[in-house]
Protein backbone atom coordinates (compact mmCIF):
# COMPACT_ATOMS: atom_id res chain seq x y z
CA UNK A 1 0.00 0.00 0.00
CA UNK A 2 1.39 3.31 -1.04
CA UNK A 3 0.38 6.73 0.21
CA UNK A 4 -1.59 7.24 -3.01
CA UNK A 5 -3.56 4.06 -2.29
CA UNK A 6 -4.47 5.29 1.18
CA UNK A 7 -5.53 8.74 -0.03
CA UNK A 8 -7.51 7.23 -2.93
CA UNK A 9 -9.28 4.81 -0.59
CA UNK A 10 -10.11 7.57 1.85
CA UNK A 11 -11.55 9.71 -0.95
CA UNK A 12 -13.56 6.81 -2.40
CA UNK A 13 -14.96 5.85 1.00
CA UNK A 14 -15.93 9.38 2.02
CA UNK A 15 -17.48 9.93 -1.41
CA UNK A 16 -19.56 6.78 -1.03
CA UNK A 17 -20.53 7.81 2.52
CA UNK A 18 -21.79 11.18 1.24
CA UNK A 19 -23.82 9.46 -1.48
CA UNK A 20 -25.41 7.19 1.15
CA UNK A 21 -26.19 10.26 3.26
CA UNK A 22 -27.79 11.91 0.22
CA UNK A 23 -29.98 8.83 -0.26
CA UNK A 24 -31.03 8.77 3.41
CA UNK A 25 -31.77 12.48 3.22
CA UNK A 26 -34.11 11.89 0.29
CA UNK A 27 -36.14 9.67 2.59
CA UNK A 28 -35.98 11.72 5.76
CA UNK A 29 -36.65 15.26 4.62
CA UNK A 30 -40.28 16.40 4.84
CA UNK A 31 -41.08 17.79 1.37
CA UNK A 32 -39.93 17.77 -2.25
CA UNK A 33 -38.02 21.01 -1.85
CA UNK A 34 -36.02 19.94 1.20
CA UNK A 35 -35.31 16.64 -0.54
CA UNK A 36 -33.80 18.46 -3.48
CA UNK A 37 -31.29 19.98 -1.04
CA UNK A 38 -30.22 16.46 -0.11
CA UNK A 39 -30.11 15.40 -3.75
CA UNK A 40 -27.78 18.20 -4.86
CA UNK A 41 -25.12 19.08 -2.30
CA UNK A 42 -23.92 15.80 -0.72
CA UNK A 43 -24.46 13.91 -3.99
CA UNK A 44 -22.33 16.35 -5.99
CA UNK A 45 -19.46 16.47 -3.51
CA UNK A 46 -19.75 12.70 -3.00
CA UNK A 47 -19.43 11.97 -6.70
CA UNK A 48 -16.56 14.44 -6.96
CA UNK A 49 -14.63 12.68 -4.17
CA UNK A 50 -15.23 9.27 -5.80
CA UNK A 51 -13.99 10.60 -9.13
CA UNK A 52 -10.86 12.15 -7.59
CA UNK A 53 -10.20 8.91 -5.75
CA UNK A 54 -10.60 6.92 -8.95
CA UNK A 55 -8.42 9.36 -10.90
CA UNK A 56 -5.58 8.74 -8.42
CA UNK A 57 -5.75 5.01 -9.06
CA UNK A 58 -6.02 4.88 -12.87
CA UNK A 59 -2.79 5.34 -14.78
CA UNK A 60 -4.22 6.17 -18.19
CA UNK A 61 -4.58 9.89 -18.93
CA UNK A 62 -7.52 9.15 -21.24
CA UNK A 63 -9.41 7.64 -18.32
CA UNK A 64 -8.59 10.68 -16.18
CA UNK A 65 -10.06 12.88 -18.93
CA UNK A 66 -13.30 10.88 -18.78
CA UNK A 67 -13.46 11.24 -14.98
CA UNK A 68 -12.83 14.99 -15.26
CA UNK A 69 -15.62 15.31 -17.78
CA UNK A 70 -18.00 13.36 -15.55
CA UNK A 71 -17.21 15.68 -12.63
CA UNK A 72 -17.65 18.81 -14.74
CA UNK A 73 -21.00 17.66 -16.14
CA UNK A 74 -22.24 16.85 -12.62
CA UNK A 75 -21.77 20.51 -11.70
CA UNK A 76 -23.97 21.58 -14.60
CA UNK A 77 -26.64 18.91 -14.36
CA UNK A 78 -27.25 18.40 -10.62
CA UNK A 79 -28.41 21.97 -9.84
CA UNK A 80 -30.38 22.24 -13.08
CA UNK A 81 -32.13 18.94 -12.35
CA UNK A 82 -32.97 20.00 -8.79
CA UNK A 83 -34.16 23.40 -10.02
CA UNK A 84 -36.51 21.82 -12.57
CA UNK A 85 -37.90 19.21 -10.17
CA UNK A 86 -38.49 21.92 -7.55
CA UNK A 87 -40.02 24.30 -10.08
CA UNK A 88 -42.29 21.62 -11.55
CA UNK A 89 -43.38 20.55 -8.06
CA UNK A 90 -44.15 24.15 -7.08
CA UNK A 91 -46.12 24.82 -10.26
CA UNK A 92 -48.04 21.59 -9.83
CA UNK A 93 -49.21 22.96 -6.48
CA UNK A 94 -47.22 20.64 -4.24
CA UNK A 95 -47.69 21.71 -0.63
CA UNK A 96 -44.71 23.03 1.26
CA UNK A 97 -44.10 21.27 4.54
CA UNK A 98 -45.69 22.74 7.70
CA UNK A 99 -42.20 23.85 8.71
CA UNK A 100 -42.32 26.52 6.01
CA UNK A 101 -42.57 30.01 7.42
CA UNK A 102 -42.49 32.27 4.35
CA UNK A 103 -43.35 31.88 0.67
CA UNK A 104 -42.59 34.94 -1.44
CA UNK A 105 -43.19 33.05 -4.69
CA UNK A 106 -46.88 32.69 -3.77
CA UNK A 107 -47.25 36.47 -4.05
CA UNK A 108 -45.60 36.46 -7.47
CA UNK A 109 -47.95 33.79 -8.82
CA UNK A 110 -47.02 30.13 -9.06
CA UNK A 111 -47.86 29.68 -12.75
CA UNK A 112 -44.82 31.51 -14.09
CA UNK A 113 -47.02 34.10 -15.79
CA UNK A 114 -44.17 36.62 -15.72
CA UNK A 115 -41.61 34.30 -17.30
CA UNK A 116 -39.07 35.90 -19.60
CA UNK A 117 -40.32 37.11 -22.97
CA UNK A 118 -39.41 34.73 -25.74
CA UNK A 119 -39.24 31.79 -23.39
CA UNK A 120 -41.21 28.91 -24.89
CA UNK A 121 -44.01 27.87 -22.58
Amino acid sequence: MTVVDVVASALLLSGVALSVIAAIGLNRFPDVFARMHAATKPATLGLLLVLIGAALRVADSGDVAKLLLAGLLQFFTAPVGAHLVGRAAYRAGTELSPDTSLDELAAAGPDGGASAPGTPR
Binding site: A65, P79, H83, Y90, D99, D103, E104, A107, S115
Partner: protein, 190 residues
Protein backbone atom coordinates in the same frame (compact mmCIF):
# COMPACT_ATOMS: atom_id res chain seq x y z
CA UNK B 1 -18.91 38.01 -29.41
CA UNK B 2 -20.11 37.39 -32.91
CA UNK B 3 -22.26 34.38 -33.55
CA UNK B 4 -19.58 32.78 -35.75
CA UNK B 5 -16.92 32.92 -33.02
CA UNK B 6 -19.34 31.71 -30.40
CA UNK B 7 -20.39 28.79 -32.61
CA UNK B 8 -16.73 27.97 -33.30
CA UNK B 9 -16.05 28.05 -29.56
CA UNK B 10 -18.98 25.72 -29.00
CA UNK B 11 -17.72 23.37 -31.74
CA UNK B 12 -14.29 23.33 -30.07
CA UNK B 13 -15.89 22.45 -26.75
CA UNK B 14 -17.85 19.59 -28.40
CA UNK B 15 -14.64 18.24 -29.97
CA UNK B 16 -12.88 18.38 -26.58
CA UNK B 17 -15.78 16.46 -24.98
CA UNK B 18 -15.74 13.91 -27.81
CA UNK B 19 -11.99 13.33 -27.53
CA UNK B 20 -12.20 13.11 -23.72
CA UNK B 21 -14.97 10.52 -23.98
CA UNK B 22 -12.88 8.37 -26.34
CA UNK B 23 -9.95 8.95 -23.99
CA UNK B 24 -7.41 9.14 -26.80
CA UNK B 25 -6.14 12.22 -28.65
CA UNK B 26 -5.82 10.90 -32.20
CA UNK B 27 -6.48 12.40 -35.63
CA UNK B 28 -9.40 10.02 -36.13
CA UNK B 29 -11.00 11.14 -32.87
CA UNK B 30 -10.59 14.84 -33.66
CA UNK B 31 -12.11 14.33 -37.14
CA UNK B 32 -14.91 12.25 -35.64
CA UNK B 33 -15.49 14.94 -33.02
CA UNK B 34 -15.63 17.66 -35.68
CA UNK B 35 -18.19 15.63 -37.65
CA UNK B 36 -20.32 14.90 -34.60
CA UNK B 37 -20.04 18.52 -33.38
CA UNK B 38 -21.06 19.88 -36.79
CA UNK B 39 -24.04 17.50 -36.81
CA UNK B 40 -25.10 18.77 -33.36
CA UNK B 41 -24.80 22.41 -34.47
CA UNK B 42 -26.84 21.69 -37.61
CA UNK B 43 -29.50 19.78 -35.72
CA UNK B 44 -29.77 22.39 -32.93
CA UNK B 45 -28.99 25.78 -34.51
CA UNK B 46 -29.69 27.66 -31.29
CA UNK B 47 -27.71 25.33 -29.06
CA UNK B 48 -24.63 26.39 -27.22
CA UNK B 49 -23.95 28.47 -24.17
CA UNK B 50 -24.16 32.24 -24.39
CA UNK B 51 -20.69 32.71 -23.10
CA UNK B 52 -19.97 35.67 -20.86
CA UNK B 53 -18.27 38.35 -22.91
CA UNK B 54 -15.90 39.37 -20.18
CA UNK B 55 -13.68 37.27 -17.96
CA UNK B 56 -11.42 38.41 -15.15
CA UNK B 57 -9.22 35.33 -14.51
CA UNK B 58 -8.31 36.32 -10.94
CA UNK B 59 -11.96 37.10 -10.18
CA UNK B 60 -13.02 33.79 -11.72
CA UNK B 61 -10.52 31.86 -9.57
CA UNK B 62 -11.72 33.66 -6.45
CA UNK B 63 -15.32 32.87 -7.38
CA UNK B 64 -14.34 29.21 -7.85
CA UNK B 65 -12.51 29.08 -4.53
CA UNK B 66 -15.37 30.75 -2.64
CA UNK B 67 -17.82 28.41 -4.36
CA UNK B 68 -15.85 25.25 -3.45
CA UNK B 69 -15.63 26.29 0.21
CA UNK B 70 -19.40 26.93 0.16
CA UNK B 71 -20.02 23.54 -1.48
CA UNK B 72 -18.09 21.72 1.26
CA UNK B 73 -19.82 23.57 4.08
CA UNK B 74 -23.21 23.07 2.38
CA UNK B 75 -22.55 19.35 2.22
CA UNK B 76 -21.47 19.19 5.86
CA UNK B 77 -24.62 21.04 6.90
CA UNK B 78 -27.05 18.84 4.93
CA UNK B 79 -25.16 15.67 5.90
CA UNK B 80 -25.35 16.63 9.60
CA UNK B 81 -29.06 17.34 9.21
CA UNK B 82 -29.55 13.89 7.67
CA UNK B 83 -27.61 11.78 10.17
CA UNK B 84 -28.69 13.43 13.44
CA UNK B 85 -31.72 11.70 14.93
CA UNK B 86 -35.09 13.37 15.12
CA UNK B 87 -36.49 15.59 16.32
CA UNK B 88 -34.90 18.31 14.29
CA UNK B 89 -37.02 21.02 12.87
CA UNK B 90 -36.36 22.55 9.52
CA UNK B 91 -37.56 26.08 9.08
CA UNK B 92 -38.17 26.32 5.36
CA UNK B 93 -38.99 29.40 3.32
CA UNK B 94 -39.15 30.63 -0.26
CA UNK B 95 -37.46 34.01 -0.57
CA UNK B 96 -37.33 36.36 -3.56
CA UNK B 97 -33.86 37.76 -4.23
CA UNK B 98 -33.11 40.40 -6.86
CA UNK B 99 -29.85 39.93 -8.69
CA UNK B 100 -28.32 42.01 -11.43
CA UNK B 101 -28.90 40.20 -14.73
CA UNK B 102 -25.74 41.17 -16.55
CA UNK B 103 -26.28 38.32 -18.99
CA UNK B 104 -28.23 35.08 -19.12
CA UNK B 105 -24.94 33.26 -18.59
CA UNK B 106 -24.24 35.04 -15.30
CA UNK B 107 -27.80 34.53 -14.06
CA UNK B 108 -27.57 30.83 -14.95
CA UNK B 109 -24.23 30.53 -13.19
CA UNK B 110 -25.65 32.21 -10.09
CA UNK B 111 -28.81 30.09 -10.06
CA UNK B 112 -26.70 26.92 -10.27
CA UNK B 113 -24.18 28.09 -7.68
CA UNK B 114 -26.99 28.96 -5.25
CA UNK B 115 -28.32 25.42 -5.52
CA UNK B 116 -24.92 24.06 -4.50
CA UNK B 117 -24.26 26.40 -1.57
CA UNK B 118 -25.41 26.12 2.04
CA UNK B 119 -29.11 25.78 2.67
CA UNK B 120 -30.32 27.42 -0.54
CA UNK B 121 -31.90 26.03 -3.70
CA UNK B 122 -33.11 27.99 -6.71
CA UNK B 123 -36.78 27.25 -7.43
CA UNK B 124 -37.75 29.81 -10.02
CA UNK B 125 -36.14 32.57 -12.10
CA UNK B 126 -37.97 35.60 -13.49
CA UNK B 127 -36.21 37.98 -15.85
CA UNK B 128 -37.09 41.61 -16.40
CA UNK B 129 -35.22 44.38 -18.17
CA UNK B 130 -32.66 45.31 -15.55
CA UNK B 131 -32.48 42.36 -13.24
CA UNK B 132 -33.57 38.85 -12.48
CA UNK B 133 -35.55 37.68 -9.48
CA UNK B 134 -34.43 34.36 -8.09
CA UNK B 135 -36.89 32.52 -5.86
CA UNK B 136 -34.71 30.65 -3.45
CA UNK B 137 -35.83 27.79 -1.22
CA UNK B 138 -34.13 27.93 2.18
CA UNK B 139 -33.72 25.01 4.56
CA UNK B 140 -32.90 27.04 7.68
CA UNK B 141 -34.72 30.32 7.49
CA UNK B 142 -33.34 33.04 9.74
CA UNK B 143 -34.83 36.07 8.09
CA UNK B 144 -35.00 37.42 4.56
CA UNK B 145 -31.93 39.61 5.03
CA UNK B 146 -29.73 36.62 5.88
CA UNK B 147 -30.73 34.87 2.62
CA UNK B 148 -30.08 38.00 0.56
CA UNK B 149 -26.65 38.43 2.16
CA UNK B 150 -25.77 34.82 1.26
CA UNK B 151 -26.81 35.29 -2.36
CA UNK B 152 -25.09 38.66 -2.57
CA UNK B 153 -21.84 37.02 -1.45
CA UNK B 154 -21.96 34.81 -4.55
CA UNK B 155 -23.35 37.54 -6.78
CA UNK B 156 -20.65 40.07 -5.98
CA UNK B 157 -17.91 37.56 -6.79
CA UNK B 158 -19.61 36.33 -9.98
CA UNK B 159 -20.06 39.89 -11.24
CA UNK B 160 -16.44 40.75 -10.49
CA UNK B 161 -15.36 37.70 -12.50
CA UNK B 162 -17.71 37.92 -15.49
CA UNK B 163 -18.74 41.56 -15.76
CA UNK B 164 -16.77 44.36 -17.39
CA UNK B 165 -16.12 47.21 -14.89
CA UNK B 166 -18.50 49.76 -16.52
CA UNK B 167 -21.32 47.21 -16.50
CA UNK B 168 -20.41 46.43 -12.92
CA UNK B 169 -20.97 50.08 -11.92
CA UNK B 170 -24.47 49.82 -13.44
CA UNK B 171 -24.91 46.64 -11.46
CA UNK B 172 -24.10 48.34 -8.19
CA UNK B 173 -26.60 51.07 -9.00
CA UNK B 174 -29.25 48.53 -10.01
CA UNK B 175 -28.87 46.23 -7.06
CA UNK B 176 -29.45 49.06 -4.64
CA UNK B 177 -32.64 50.13 -6.35
CA UNK B 178 -35.74 49.49 -4.27
CA UNK B 179 -36.64 45.85 -4.65
CA UNK B 180 -39.93 45.48 -6.56
CA UNK B 181 -40.82 42.40 -4.50
CA UNK B 182 -41.15 44.64 -1.44
CA UNK B 183 -44.49 45.77 -2.86
CA UNK B 184 -45.67 42.16 -2.97
CA UNK B 185 -45.15 41.75 0.77
CA UNK B 186 -48.83 42.12 1.83
CA UNK B 187 -49.63 39.01 -0.20
CA UNK B 188 -47.45 36.81 1.92
CA UNK B 189 -48.93 34.78 4.72
CA UNK B 190 -46.51 33.88 7.45
Amino acid sequence: MSSVTSRLAFLTWLVVVWVALWGDLSVANVVGGLAAGAAVLLAFPHAGPRRPRYLDPVGALRFLGYFLVQLVSATALVAWEVVTPRPWRLNEAVVAVRVFGASDAVVTLLANAISLTPGTLTLEVRRDDVAATLYVHVLHFRGVEQVRRDVEGLEARALRAFCAPPVLRDAVATIHLPRPDAAARPGEDA
